[in-house]
Symmetry: C2
Subunit: 82 residues, 2 copies
């Protein structure tokens, strides 16, 4: 799987879940104690997250890391077929 | 989720998949171009893997990262209830 594509898809999935909870980037970053600029780069797919950072983000979004990753894998596969 | 527990569960899931394919630690580490000692520490749950390292491991084991992570989450939850 293309490295960059999955990271972008993970960032987009995180954004979808955050927006679905009606929280701003700044509000969410603050709520999980993450630097706002770093969090912005996560949503843009610019960060090769560690598992523990993924867990921290997912706990804040109340979603299982495996389901968020599954969403991202599906999106990355779909974007490959276009 | 307890950080350490998930990493140990991820390492155990990776080991299960590797053993299920009848490959030695050394053989598998070599097959994905990973240093053997590093790979051993991954199986022991000592490494906070990045997503791209998880993808590389899972491609070598022909399993989706999300399903391996889901296995590990389930095991980590079960080990909490004991």
């Amino acid at each position: 799987m293309d490295d960059g594509k999955l990271l972008v898809a993970v960032g987009a999935a995180i954004r979808r879940h955050r927006e679905g909870r009606g929280i701003s980037q700044e509000g969410f970053a603050d709520s999980i104690g993450m630097h706002r600029a770093y969090y912005g780069s996560v949503e843009r797919g610019r960060r090769n997250l560690t598992l523990m950072t993924l867990v921290r983000l997912c706990e804040g979004l109340d979603v299982r890391p495996s389901s968020l990753l599954s969403e991202a894998e599906a999106a990355a596969r779909t974007s490959r077929r276009r």
